[in-house]
Symmetry: C3
Subunit: 129 residues, 3 copies
Protein backbone atom coordinates (compact mmCIF):
# COMPACT_ATOMS: atom_id res chain seq x y z
CA UNK A 1 0.00 0.00 0.00
CA UNK A 2 2.79 2.44 0.16
CA UNK A 3 2.35 5.57 -1.89
CA UNK A 4 5.81 6.73 -2.88
CA UNK A 5 6.55 10.34 -3.86
CA UNK A 6 9.98 10.94 -5.33
CA UNK A 7 11.27 14.49 -5.87
CA UNK A 8 14.54 15.35 -7.56
CA UNK A 9 16.20 17.83 -9.84
CA UNK A 10 15.35 17.66 -13.53
CA UNK A 11 17.85 16.12 -15.90
CA UNK A 12 18.19 12.45 -15.06
CA UNK A 13 17.39 9.92 -17.77
CA UNK A 14 14.34 7.72 -17.70
CA UNK A 15 16.27 4.58 -16.68
CA UNK A 16 17.77 6.42 -13.74
CA UNK A 17 14.35 7.45 -12.48
CA UNK A 18 12.96 3.96 -13.00
CA UNK A 19 15.84 2.61 -10.91
CA UNK A 20 14.75 4.93 -8.08
CA UNK A 21 11.20 3.59 -8.18
CA UNK A 22 12.38 -0.02 -8.43
CA UNK A 23 14.91 0.30 -5.61
CA UNK A 24 12.47 1.85 -3.18
CA UNK A 25 9.81 -0.73 -4.02
CA UNK A 26 12.23 -3.64 -3.53
CA UNK A 27 13.46 -2.22 -0.23
CA UNK A 28 9.84 -1.95 0.94
CA UNK A 29 9.25 -5.55 -0.03
CA UNK A 30 12.30 -6.66 1.94
CA UNK A 31 11.71 -4.71 5.14
CA UNK A 32 8.02 -3.74 5.32
CA UNK A 33 6.42 -6.97 4.07
CA UNK A 34 4.97 -5.18 1.08
CA UNK A 35 3.30 -7.65 -1.31
CA UNK A 36 4.32 -8.15 -4.90
CA UNK A 37 2.90 -5.62 -7.37
CA UNK A 38 2.01 -3.21 -4.54
CA UNK A 39 3.79 -0.42 -6.34
CA UNK A 40 2.52 3.14 -6.59
CA UNK A 41 5.09 5.80 -7.35
CA UNK A 42 4.97 9.35 -8.62
CA UNK A 43 8.15 11.14 -9.58
CA UNK A 44 8.33 14.92 -9.82
CA UNK A 45 11.31 16.59 -11.45
CA UNK A 46 12.11 20.11 -10.35
CA UNK A 47 14.03 22.94 -11.90
CA UNK A 48 16.91 24.25 -9.82
CA UNK A 49 14.87 27.20 -8.56
CA UNK A 50 12.09 24.94 -7.31
CA UNK A 51 14.23 22.56 -5.27
CA UNK A 52 16.05 23.70 -2.15
CA UNK A 53 18.08 21.68 0.31
CA UNK A 54 20.45 22.22 3.20
CA UNK A 55 23.78 21.27 1.67
CA UNK A 56 25.35 20.31 4.96
CA UNK A 57 22.57 19.70 7.49
CA UNK A 58 23.70 17.27 10.22
CA UNK A 59 27.13 17.32 8.64
CA UNK A 60 25.92 15.35 5.62
CA UNK A 61 27.26 16.79 2.37
CA UNK A 62 24.43 16.74 -0.12
CA UNK A 63 24.67 17.44 -3.83
CA UNK A 64 22.29 18.39 -6.59
CA UNK A 65 21.66 14.67 -7.01
CA UNK A 66 19.66 14.71 -3.77
CA UNK A 67 16.55 12.56 -3.96
CA UNK A 68 13.69 13.29 -1.57
CA UNK A 69 11.57 10.20 -0.95
CA UNK A 70 8.30 10.61 0.93
CA UNK A 71 6.37 7.40 1.53
CA UNK A 72 2.85 7.14 2.92
CA UNK A 73 2.31 3.81 4.66
CA UNK A 74 0.01 2.23 7.21
CA UNK A 75 1.07 2.70 10.83
CA UNK A 76 1.92 -0.93 11.48
CA UNK A 77 5.71 -1.01 11.44
CA UNK A 78 8.21 -0.98 14.29
CA UNK A 79 11.08 1.43 14.71
CA UNK A 80 13.44 -1.37 13.77
CA UNK A 81 11.58 -1.95 10.54
CA UNK A 82 11.81 1.75 9.72
CA UNK A 83 15.54 1.73 10.36
CA UNK A 84 15.90 -1.33 8.17
CA UNK A 85 13.88 0.35 5.42
CA UNK A 86 16.03 3.48 5.42
CA UNK A 87 19.20 1.42 5.29
CA UNK A 88 17.93 -0.84 2.52
CA UNK A 89 16.61 1.99 0.33
CA UNK A 90 19.93 3.77 0.65
CA UNK A 91 21.88 0.62 -0.17
CA UNK A 92 19.74 -0.22 -3.16
CA UNK A 93 19.83 3.29 -4.59
CA UNK A 94 23.58 3.25 -4.04
CA UNK A 95 23.85 0.21 -6.24
CA UNK A 96 21.36 1.40 -8.82
CA UNK A 97 21.23 4.17 -10.10
CA UNK A 98 24.34 4.83 -8.03
CA UNK A 99 23.29 7.47 -5.52
CA UNK A 100 25.70 8.63 -2.84
CA UNK A 101 24.26 7.76 0.62
CA UNK A 102 24.43 11.46 1.45
CA UNK A 103 21.89 12.14 -1.29
CA UNK A 104 19.08 9.93 -0.03
CA UNK A 105 16.49 11.77 2.06
CA UNK A 106 13.56 9.69 3.30
CA UNK A 107 10.42 10.57 5.22
CA UNK A 108 7.51 8.35 6.23
CA UNK A 109 3.93 9.48 6.70
CA UNK A 110 1.86 6.95 8.63
CA UNK A 111 -1.89 6.53 8.35
CA UNK A 112 -4.59 4.21 9.66
CA UNK A 113 -5.13 0.96 7.80
CA UNK A 114 -8.62 1.97 6.76
CA UNK A 115 -7.29 5.05 4.95
CA UNK A 116 -6.70 3.31 1.64
CA UNK A 117 -8.84 2.42 -1.33
CA UNK A 118 -7.00 0.55 -4.09
CA UNK A 119 -9.92 0.52 -6.48
CA UNK A 120 -13.65 -0.15 -6.63
CA UNK A 121 -14.25 2.40 -3.87
CA UNK A 122 -13.57 -0.18 -1.15
CA UNK A 123 -11.36 0.29 1.92
CA UNK A 124 -9.57 -3.00 1.30
CA UNK A 125 -7.51 -2.90 4.51
CA UNK A 126 -10.25 -1.81 6.90
CA UNK A 127 -11.22 -4.31 9.57
CA UNK A 128 -14.05 -6.49 8.43
CA UNK A 129 -13.28 -6.08 4.74
Amino acid sequence: MPLIRVSLRKGKPSAYRKALADGIYLALRETFNVPEDDLFVTITEHEEDNFFYGANYLGIERSDDLVIVQITVSNTRTVDQKKALFQRITERLGTEPGLRPEDVFINLIEVEKENWSFGHGIAQYAQGN
Copy 2:
Protein backbone atom coordinates in the same frame (compact mmCIF):
# COMPACT_ATOMS: atom_id res chain seq x y z
CA MET B 1 -10.35 21.83 4.96
CA PRO B 2 -9.34 18.94 2.85
CA LEU B 3 -6.25 19.44 0.75
CA ILE B 4 -6.62 17.26 -2.31
CA ARG B 5 -3.66 16.09 -4.37
CA VAL B 6 -4.50 14.42 -7.66
CA SER B 7 -1.83 12.63 -9.68
CA LEU B 8 -2.37 11.13 -13.11
CA ARG B 9 -0.74 10.53 -16.45
CA LYS B 10 -0.41 13.50 -18.76
CA GLY B 11 -2.76 13.82 -21.69
CA LYS B 12 -6.24 14.35 -20.35
CA PRO B 13 -8.08 17.50 -21.39
CA SER B 14 -8.79 20.33 -19.03
CA ALA B 15 -12.48 19.47 -18.60
CA TYR B 16 -11.56 15.92 -17.65
CA ARG B 17 -9.24 17.14 -14.92
CA LYS B 18 -11.78 19.65 -13.67
CA ALA B 19 -14.30 16.82 -13.40
CA LEU B 20 -11.87 14.98 -11.14
CA ALA B 21 -11.57 17.97 -8.82
CA ASP B 22 -15.31 18.57 -8.82
CA GLY B 23 -16.22 14.95 -8.20
CA ILE B 24 -13.86 14.55 -5.26
CA TYR B 25 -15.03 17.82 -3.74
CA LEU B 26 -18.70 16.87 -4.06
CA ALA B 27 -18.06 13.43 -2.56
CA LEU B 28 -16.34 15.11 0.40
CA ARG B 29 -19.31 17.40 0.85
CA GLU B 30 -21.69 14.42 0.86
CA THR B 31 -19.79 12.14 3.22
CA PHE B 32 -17.35 14.22 5.29
CA ASN B 33 -19.55 17.26 6.04
CA VAL B 34 -17.20 19.52 4.14
CA PRO B 35 -18.62 23.05 3.85
CA GLU B 36 -19.38 24.79 0.58
CA ASP B 37 -16.39 26.43 -1.10
CA ASP B 38 -13.94 24.42 1.02
CA LEU B 39 -12.10 23.33 -2.09
CA PHE B 40 -8.34 23.14 -2.40
CA VAL B 41 -6.99 20.90 -5.13
CA THR B 42 -3.69 20.52 -6.91
CA ILE B 43 -3.37 18.30 -9.94
CA THR B 44 -0.03 16.99 -11.13
CA GLU B 45 0.28 15.38 -14.55
CA HIS B 46 3.09 12.89 -15.00
CA GLU B 47 4.89 11.55 -18.01
CA GLU B 48 4.77 7.79 -18.40
CA ASP B 49 8.25 7.36 -16.95
CA ASN B 50 7.34 9.29 -13.80
CA PHE B 51 4.20 7.36 -12.90
CA PHE B 52 4.34 3.72 -11.81
CA TYR B 53 1.58 1.48 -10.61
CA GLY B 54 0.94 -2.16 -9.88
CA ALA B 55 -1.28 -3.15 -12.77
CA ASN B 56 -2.94 -5.99 -10.91
CA TYR B 57 -2.41 -5.45 -7.18
CA LEU B 58 -5.19 -7.09 -5.12
CA GLY B 59 -6.54 -8.48 -8.37
CA ILE B 60 -7.69 -5.06 -9.53
CA GLU B 61 -6.83 -4.44 -13.18
CA ARG B 62 -5.59 -0.89 -13.48
CA SER B 63 -4.93 1.02 -16.65
CA ASP B 64 -2.94 4.08 -17.63
CA ASP B 65 -6.02 6.09 -16.69
CA LEU B 66 -5.26 5.42 -13.02
CA VAL B 67 -5.88 8.46 -10.83
CA ILE B 68 -4.10 8.66 -7.49
CA VAL B 69 -6.01 10.82 -5.02
CA GLN B 70 -4.33 11.76 -1.74
CA ILE B 71 -6.43 13.85 0.61
CA THR B 72 -5.21 15.49 3.81
CA VAL B 73 -8.08 15.94 6.29
CA SER B 74 -8.64 16.49 9.99
CA ASN B 75 -8.79 13.31 12.05
CA THR B 76 -12.43 13.59 12.94
CA ARG B 77 -14.12 11.02 10.72
CA THR B 78 -15.26 7.48 11.46
CA VAL B 79 -14.31 4.38 9.53
CA ASP B 80 -17.82 4.30 8.10
CA GLN B 81 -17.43 7.85 6.81
CA LYS B 82 -14.16 6.90 5.17
CA LYS B 83 -15.78 3.92 3.49
CA ALA B 84 -18.62 6.14 2.30
CA LEU B 85 -16.15 8.68 0.95
CA PHE B 86 -14.22 6.09 -1.05
CA GLN B 87 -17.42 4.71 -2.51
CA ARG B 88 -18.82 8.11 -3.37
CA ILE B 89 -15.62 9.41 -4.98
CA THR B 90 -15.43 6.29 -7.09
CA GLU B 91 -19.08 6.56 -8.12
CA ARG B 92 -18.81 10.23 -8.98
CA LEU B 93 -15.62 9.84 -11.00
CA GLY B 94 -17.26 6.91 -12.74
CA THR B 95 -20.06 9.17 -13.88
CA GLU B 96 -17.84 12.11 -14.72
CA PRO B 97 -15.21 12.04 -16.28
CA GLY B 98 -15.99 8.34 -16.68
CA LEU B 99 -13.26 6.55 -14.75
CA ARG B 100 -13.35 2.80 -14.35
CA PRO B 101 -13.66 1.92 -10.63
CA GLU B 102 -10.42 -0.03 -10.96
CA ASP B 103 -8.62 3.21 -11.78
CA VAL B 104 -9.47 5.15 -8.63
CA PHE B 105 -6.78 4.97 -5.94
CA ILE B 106 -7.48 6.96 -2.77
CA ASN B 107 -5.42 7.61 0.35
CA LEU B 108 -6.25 9.76 3.37
CA ILE B 109 -3.71 11.54 5.55
CA GLU B 110 -5.19 12.65 8.87
CA VAL B 111 -3.97 15.58 10.94
CA GLU B 112 -4.96 17.43 14.09
CA LYS B 113 -7.61 20.14 13.76
CA GLU B 114 -5.16 22.85 14.73
CA ASN B 115 -2.87 21.97 11.82
CA TRP B 116 -4.58 24.27 9.32
CA SER B 117 -4.37 27.93 8.48
CA PHE B 118 -6.72 29.07 5.72
CA GLY B 119 -5.43 32.60 5.57
CA HIS B 120 -4.46 35.51 7.80
CA GLY B 121 -1.98 33.30 9.69
CA ILE B 122 -4.71 32.02 12.01
CA ALA B 123 -5.35 28.39 12.99
CA GLN B 124 -9.04 28.68 12.25
CA TYR B 125 -9.95 25.20 13.51
CA ALA B 126 -7.90 25.20 16.71
CA GLN B 127 -9.86 25.06 19.95
CA GLY B 128 -10.59 28.50 21.25
CA ASN B 129 -10.44 30.15 17.83
Copy 3:
Protein backbone atom coordinates in the same frame (compact mmCIF):
# COMPACT_ATOMS: atom_id res chain seq x y z
CA MET C 1 13.59 18.27 9.56
CA PRO C 2 10.62 19.86 8.03
CA LEU C 3 9.84 18.86 4.47
CA ILE C 4 8.14 21.81 2.83
CA ARG C 5 5.90 21.46 -0.21
CA VAL C 6 4.87 24.70 -1.87
CA SER C 7 2.20 24.75 -4.57
CA LEU C 8 1.20 27.81 -6.55
CA ARG C 9 0.11 29.00 -9.95
CA LYS C 10 2.73 29.18 -12.67
CA GLY C 11 4.13 32.53 -13.64
CA LYS C 12 6.03 33.93 -10.69
CA PRO C 13 9.71 34.75 -11.18
CA SER C 14 12.47 32.75 -9.61
CA ALA C 15 13.24 35.34 -6.92
CA TYR C 16 9.61 35.36 -5.87
CA ARG C 17 9.61 31.61 -5.38
CA LYS C 18 12.92 31.69 -3.55
CA ALA C 19 11.42 34.26 -1.19
CA LEU C 20 8.64 31.80 -0.41
CA ALA C 21 11.13 29.07 0.50
CA ASP C 22 13.26 31.46 2.53
CA GLY C 23 10.35 32.97 4.43
CA ILE C 24 8.88 29.63 5.42
CA TYR C 25 12.29 28.33 6.50
CA LEU C 26 12.98 31.41 8.61
CA ALA C 27 9.56 31.23 10.25
CA LEU C 28 10.22 27.58 11.13
CA ARG C 29 13.54 28.54 12.66
CA GLU C 30 11.85 31.23 14.76
CA THR C 31 8.90 29.24 16.05
CA PHE C 32 9.67 25.51 15.71
CA ASN C 33 13.32 25.50 16.84
CA VAL C 34 14.44 24.27 13.46
CA PRO C 35 18.26 24.20 13.22
CA GLU C 36 20.25 26.17 10.70
CA ASP C 37 20.55 24.59 7.25
CA ASP C 38 17.61 22.27 7.94
CA LEU C 39 15.96 23.33 4.74
CA PHE C 40 14.19 20.99 2.34
CA VAL C 41 11.69 22.56 -0.01
CA THR C 42 10.02 21.52 -3.23
CA ILE C 43 7.99 23.99 -5.23
CA THR C 44 5.44 22.89 -7.79
CA GLU C 45 3.97 25.38 -10.23
CA HIS C 46 0.56 24.60 -11.62
CA GLU C 47 -1.32 25.72 -14.68
CA GLU C 48 -4.64 27.36 -14.01
CA ASP C 49 -6.56 24.20 -14.81
CA ASN C 50 -4.55 22.17 -12.30
CA PHE C 51 -5.00 24.46 -9.30
CA PHE C 52 -8.39 24.95 -7.66
CA TYR C 53 -9.30 26.90 -4.57
CA GLY C 54 -12.34 28.16 -2.75
CA ALA C 55 -12.20 31.87 -3.48
CA ASN C 56 -14.13 32.83 -0.36
CA TYR C 57 -13.99 29.93 2.08
CA LEU C 58 -14.37 31.14 5.70
CA GLY C 59 -14.94 34.61 4.31
CA ILE C 60 -11.30 34.94 3.24
CA GLU C 61 -10.97 36.43 -0.23
CA ARG C 62 -8.28 34.49 -2.03
CA SER C 63 -6.73 35.37 -5.36
CA ASP C 64 -4.75 33.53 -8.02
CA ASP C 65 -1.66 34.36 -5.97
CA LEU C 66 -2.73 31.77 -3.41
CA VAL C 67 0.19 29.75 -2.08
CA ILE C 68 -0.51 26.34 -0.57
CA VAL C 69 2.17 25.35 1.93
CA GLN C 70 2.19 21.80 3.26
CA ILE C 71 4.87 21.03 5.81
CA THR C 72 5.72 17.60 7.19
CA VAL C 73 7.26 17.86 10.68
CA SER C 74 7.86 15.72 13.75
CA ASN C 75 4.95 15.63 16.20
CA THR C 76 6.73 17.51 18.96
CA ARG C 77 5.21 20.99 18.83
CA THR C 78 2.46 22.54 20.92
CA VAL C 79 -0.67 24.18 19.61
CA ASP C 80 0.80 27.55 20.56
CA GLN C 81 3.89 26.85 18.49
CA LYS C 82 1.72 25.94 15.54
CA LYS C 83 -0.24 29.18 15.90
CA ALA C 84 3.02 31.11 16.11
CA LEU C 85 4.31 29.37 13.00
CA PHE C 86 1.22 30.21 10.96
CA GLN C 87 1.38 33.82 12.01
CA ARG C 88 5.08 34.13 11.34
CA ILE C 89 4.96 32.47 7.92
CA THR C 90 2.15 34.77 6.91
CA GLU C 91 3.98 37.85 8.19
CA ARG C 92 7.22 36.92 6.47
CA LEU C 93 5.58 36.12 3.14
CA GLY C 94 3.68 39.38 3.45
CA THR C 95 6.97 41.23 3.65
CA GLU C 96 8.71 39.18 1.00
CA PRO C 97 7.59 38.40 -1.73
CA GLY C 98 4.60 40.46 -0.69
CA LEU C 99 1.75 38.00 -0.34
CA ARG C 100 -1.62 39.13 0.92
CA PRO C 101 -2.42 37.30 4.20
CA GLU C 102 -5.54 35.97 2.51
CA ASP C 103 -3.36 34.09 0.05
CA VAL C 104 -1.36 32.01 2.52
CA PHE C 105 -2.75 28.51 3.08
CA ILE C 106 -0.79 26.31 5.47
CA ASN C 107 -1.19 22.69 6.53
CA LEU C 108 0.99 20.60 8.83
CA ILE C 109 1.44 16.85 8.62
CA GLU C 110 2.95 15.40 11.79
CA VAL C 111 5.00 12.21 11.98
CA GLU C 112 6.99 10.27 14.56
CA LYS C 113 10.57 11.37 15.17
CA GLU C 114 11.95 8.10 13.87
CA ASN C 115 10.29 8.66 10.47
CA TRP C 116 13.20 10.59 8.97
CA SER C 117 16.45 9.71 7.33
CA PHE C 118 18.57 12.68 6.27
CA GLY C 119 21.22 10.63 4.56
CA HIS C 120 23.36 7.52 5.02
CA GLY C 121 20.24 5.42 5.57
CA ILE C 122 20.16 6.27 9.26
CA ALA C 123 17.10 7.37 11.28
CA GLN C 124 18.97 10.29 12.80
CA TYR C 125 16.17 11.36 15.13
CA ALA C 126 15.17 7.93 16.42
CA GLN C 127 15.76 7.29 20.11
CA GLY C 128 19.15 5.79 20.70
CA ASN C 129 20.66 7.26 17.54
